[in-house]
Symmetry: C2
Subunit: 385 residues, 2 copies
């Protein structure tokens, strides 16, 4: 397991350097996918000589950035320690845009390499460590491994489960409703602070996903506006392609980033029409158990094949409940507004939970207050792993 913390007696300085490397890695958030977030720090005798991070997909690897930074500052890295959040790569290939880091590390005569997590990529896992050790370099792994797991949760989930990390987000009233009985033109459950938080969340995801109902009723753009950052891919689950031609998602400048999944039997003219408007339409075969909905595992598989490592599901209630029912989720954010609707649409429904004992619980629960709203967050408790 990658999460095992190493029993090695790391020093406080070791920990400090690794935390620093992780904080550098985080600077690449939303820019490196499908690559992981990686940070590196080079230090000798308690002094940092150079640091670096993987800035963006196809950009230089963090280790090389750190080695070059040290050289630029007039330091030789000989005999120094290198702290990497992830196992350095050791291979070349047609899909790969950068030279292997192990070669550079060996050339610069690094004395010791400290690693948080092994790379789950089959071409790297363990190979990087072996290559370095074969060259006489001391390698120690597992420092702040849990924090490293958390840092690259999208990447690790993708390589372990073969599907993107799925984060469910919903905004509900205190009594668990997302719309009044009459139905509203617009979902105004969240306040400004909560909306900013959602935009901050969006920019770190590869894709944002909504259902047909949300596309109709809320007609969202799903772009990052209240914060700086790149727009994620926009995914709509719309089995019969009932999304109106006037939807904002079809009028954005980068409309090629709008993906619409539909049932295999959807109207070909409708598909052409939406493709003419710039969207990508993807028919998937539905199973009989899907009650008119699309098979979520196939949708995720398709997104995974496109190197989408992370999906933020933004509703509505039907889509939210489907992901819960299928167990295809990793983390959940529930915004709870300080008012009661006392009727209307439940945020969650149709889960096959017969009794309180079998209620869907969470791990790593976080509860925050945002103005008069509550933000509840929790992670999936995986049972069969």
């Amino acid at each position: 397991m990658n999460t095992a913390e190493s029993p090695l007696p790391f020093t406080e300085f070791d920990r400090w350097c690794m935390r620093r490397a992780m904080s550098l890695a985080r600077r690449g958030t939303g820019k490196t996918s499908p690559n992981p977030l990686v940070g590196a720090v080079i230090a000798r005798n308690g002094m940092v000589l150079g640091e670096g991070w993987h800035r963006q997909y196809r950009g230089k690897h963090a280790e090389l950035e750190a080695l070059e930074a040290a050289a630029a500052a007039g330091h030789t890295a000989e005999g120094a320690d290198l702290y990497c959040t992830l196992e350095p790569c050791s291979f070349t290939g047609p899909e790969k845009h950068q030279p292997p880091c192990t070669t550079a590390i060996i050339q610069h005569r690094i004395r010791r390499v400290v690693i948080a997590n092994q790379d789950p990529h089959p071409k790297v896992s363990g190979q990087g460590v072996q290559t370095l050790q074969a060259a006489g370099i001391a390698v120690e792994t597992g420092l702040l491994a849990r924090k490293g797991e958390e840092l690259n949760r999208f990447f690790f989930t993708f390589h372990r489960l073969g599907r993107p990390w799925v984060h469910l987000k919903i905004a509900q009233s205190l009594d668990g409703r997302i719309a009044a009985p009459g139905g509203d033109g617009k979902n105004r459950i969240t306040n400004e602070a909560a909306r900013k938080l959602v935009h901050r969340l969006r920019r770190s995801f590869d894709a944002v996903l909504i259902g047909r109902g949300t596309a109709h009723i809320d007609d969202p753009e799903l772009t990052v506006r209240l914060e700086r950052g790149r727009n994620p891919l926009r995914v709509v689950l719309d089995s019969r392609l009932s999304i109106p031609d006037s939807a904002r998602l079809l009028a954005l400048p980068d409309r090629e980033k709008t993906l619409i999944f539909c049932a295999a039997g959807a109207d070909p003219r409708r598909i052409r029409r939406l493709e003419d408007r710039g969207a990508q339409v993807i028919p998937v075969a539905g199973g009989p158990e899907n009650r008119g909905g699309l098979p979520l595992d196939q949708v995720l598989q398709h997104l995974g094949a496109r190197k989408v490592l992370s999906v933020l599901v933004e509703g509505g209630a039907a889509v939210f409940s489907s992901f819960l029912r299928e167990g295809l989720w990793d983390r959940m954010s529930v915004f709870i507004a300080p008012f009661i609707l006392g009727g209307g649409l439940n945020a969650v429904s149709g889960l096959p939970i017969p009794s309180m004992e079998e209620a869907l619980g969470f791990q790593d629960v976080e509860i925050r207050r945002i103005g008069n709203q509550i933000l509840f967050e929790g992670a999936h408790v995986y049972r069969n792993r």
Copy 2:
């Protein structure tokens, strides 16, 4: 309005003394009803000479306690300031168990009386102040008036609205359910810390109220066990008297404190049988609009006539929703457990709220975390006052 803060230039010491008086008053919580909580502090030249509080119903008034405490400590109260959380009383009568405080205050030659709130009781309101002023004593009112209102919210609501203060309490899952689809033998939504908090809440109320369903399914005792304190009156709304003979509420040592409200047409034999088991049964005439439920205004009126100043409504969903629908409530506590049921019984339903704009909002919102649970509290926003 009693809530108006006085514009008088009170000193920091004045404020300190009034806060102290309020903190003394709070010691009587759960013991003074139907009397208010009252505290008193006597001070001269920045020194406290005596303090007192109304310890229990029919006990000495706070002002007298403070005067006696000063005398017992060897102080004369002559020329001193008296801080009272509530206007001192000035009348005698057959219902009254203590002599008028104004007489004692005048006899002890107090120089100045500072009051947080005027007494809403028609026999006192303003009379106390006038009696003191007529005797040449300086009287200043309104110091920390809002805090005083909060302190005696049961008492003030009772005298203003002619009904008890109603506090709604419910425990629900994250998605707003109180029971799984299958239905549970027992409601285990709250954790130990939350249950202790409920017992602490109970002991400060004159009565605890539940509906028929809760009496059946949860079969609660509604007593104060996890904390010290006296048991409140137990009220069950049970239009057809379907509560089982084996209910715990009918087997408690103080079973005369169990009140069961039923419809006017309830079976007389069933009434006698429950009365034989020690409960008090009270038939009330139901209106046609009550969908089988009892008219809550009449229930509250009856409780008010019995000098019940405060009611804690502990569910279930039907009763909770009825109080909300009728607008007969003052404060609400919602315990939110960190799990999802995804089906089953909603905590609130059937409110006539057509759109998000007309959602039921709150004032004085408080949000606390109790372990992994959330406690949301909010107060009624009264519209037509």
